[in-house]
Amino acid sequence: MAFVQKFLIRVLYAVILLTAVLVLNFSMMHLAPGDVADTISQSMGGADQEVLDQIRAEYGLDQPFLIQLGRYIGNVLQFNLGYSYFFNTPVTDLILQRLPATLLLVFTAQIMALLIGVVLGVISARRPNGLASHFVTALALFGYAAPVFWTGILLLIAFSLKIQWFPVAGMQDVTVSGGFWVHAIDIAKHLVLPAITLGSVFLALYSRLSRATMMEVLGSDYVRTAKAKGLTEREVVYKHALKNSLSPVITLAGLQFSAVISGAVLVEAVFSWPGLGTLAFQSIIARDTPTILGILFFSALVVIVGNILTDLALRLVDPRMGGK
């Protein structure tokens, strides 16, 4: 089965990419001045050379580089990402604790931006001089130029502090108790502002591309054929035109995943959203190497998985993609 084959090749390729990411990151951490022993000695209030050497031997830091690298990769394969000295927890646990929050934010933002972007694109392509179209142009300019953390703060000031529609920070209200749905709604309320903030940047991109693509498609020969068949306006636009305009937008969305994660780091900081971004920031400051490596690894993983999902979505929309 060609499809399964291709899928496996993709997976293999993804694994190679991830390994490369690991190697690069590990080397970088190794190159940097200072290491875990220094961090520990700092928290101990200073230590002399002997103690430092002892610590290094204990953590295997005196071994040659390649051996350390090999050991690290070996561990990763067993799902062991090391131990965080700073948080006193295995890195894997740490990350899995925070990962869902980030995934929720990232995927909500992307999907929201895609859906609204496509809808806006369709509306503005049909009426190029209408309200929706002008909105798309304005949004495209502003969405790109405004720093995402500034947008977040503005939304925070407006909707959480001035008009108190949404909570100010965090993902859940600890005082809320109840069943699944009560918690779900609580999380949803907390999710609104961060998701809108993160999504706004990409909404700008997707709606502009969707409009341009849709306009091109509406002028195409096969749309002319569809009209010549006497199909209704609805059928022409939503059945014939729309499906063809989706591919470029979905492709773009796929390419944006690493940007979305970067944005998520900033949005999490603004809204104190308990995800990987906040964890990353804390561990970077603390020079907590294993955690940093783990986070970099996981973010690359999210991007790669996102790309694969995008490819699958593309295949659904465009039968020509299957032939690749």
């Binding site: 020969d221 096969y222 002319r224 054929t225 569809a226 068949k229 006497g230 499906k243």
Partner: protein, 329 residues
């Protein structure tokens, strides 16, 4: 059939361009009887495609409009028809196929679906009924192995096959008129011949009238009974194909015919030399003037031609020419 199926009278189609409004079709009148096969001939830019789009009500949205005149189809004036009524007619009573088969089919739907939807829309067929009819139609247009190919996507088919699918779509609801706008221009010569054969066969079977739009005199000679020669949005000459080619009554037609390597003439000393018509078609800006628009390129031009638009002169019951000096051609 005394009453013609399609009667176009004094049709004027205007295009809004950067330089103003231009009459891309200027006072055009013609008739089409049921089952008849006519050709519209002319160089690019003479308005032949616009006539077809005008009949279908498919003029480009904000740029084109029917300014005046009437298009009476089966007793109904299409220029006064509502958009909803036009949608009922398109694909159903009047169908059209276009020049570029490679891009005229929607790439993301199967050919079967694209045929079936016309049937579902106009003939109220159910999903499986329409699908089966689609298979039958593919067979009728001579696509081999139609049962398998009905689920193919356009990219899996050649240009010639795609054009056949277009023909299948167009003839699915057994329209009274099929408008074919340069259907073979983008195809290989051998495929061209096949497509024309197919169209003639189908016409014999279904009795559909065919309006062929082309710049290829050879296609005209092969396909049609009558021809209309267009120039700069106006009818230059009209008549039965054999009589026009035998004795063209308009300098432009004469020029067009002599451009084609002696298709009709037998090999003799009298055969025409291969010539070209000097000059180029007038730009859209110059359409609509009260002169003969061919004057700049005509070798029989005189003062009258530059000062007023020629009236139509008749020759016999079927041939007409819009030239001041038609008798002398």
């Amino acid at each position: 059939m005394s009453e013609p199926l399609l009667k176009v009278e004094n049709l004027r189609i205007e295009l809004t361009t950067r330089d103003g409004i231009a009459p891309v079709i200027d006072n055009l009148s013609f008739q089409l009887d049921a089952g008849e096969n006519i050709s519209f001939v002319g160089e690019s830019g003479c308005g032949k495609s616009m006539t077809a789009l005008g009949i279908m009500g498919l003029l480009p949205d904000r740029i084109g409009r029917i300014a005046s005149g009437s298009i009476v189809f089966d007793g109904e004036d299409l220029t006064q028809a509502s958009e909803a009524r036009l949608k009922e007619i398109r694909g159903n009573d009047i169908s059209m196929i276009f020049q570029e088969p490679m891009t005229s089919l929607n790439p993301v739907y199967t050919v079967g679906e694209q045929i079936a939807e016309v049937l579902r829309r106009h003939q109220d067929l159910g999903t499986s009924q329409a699908w089966n009819k689609a298979i039958e139609l593919l067979d009728a247009v001579q696509i081999p192995n139609p049962k398998a190919r009905v689920s193919d996507y356009p990219f899996q088919m050649s240009g010639g096959q795609r054009q056949r699918v277009m023909i299948a779509i167009a003839l699915a609801c057994e329209p009274k008129i099929l408008i074919a706008d340069e259907p073979t221009t983008a195809l290989d010569v051998t495929v061209q011949a096949q497509i024309f054969d197919l169209l003639r066969d189908l016409q014999a079977e279904t009795g559909t009238a065919i309006m062929l739009i082309t710049h290829d005199m050879g296609a005209v000679a092969e396909m049609s009974e009558r021809m209309i020669v267009m120039y700069a949005g106006r009818k230059a000459e009209e008549g039965r194909v054999d009589e026009v080619i035998e004795h063209p009554r308009h300098p432009y037609t004469k020029g067009l015919i002599s451009c084609v390597p002696h298709i009709m003439k037998t090999l003799s000393k009298e055969r025409h030399k291969l010539t070209e018509i000097e000059g180029i078609v007038p730009s859209l800006r110059e359409f609509g003037r009260d002169t003969c628009l061919f004057a700049a390129r005509c070798d029989m031009v005189e003062e009258r031609c530059r000062s007023s638009r020629p009236d139509e002169a008749a020759f016999g019951s079927t041939q007409k020419s819009a030239c001041w000096r038609a008798k002398e051609v």
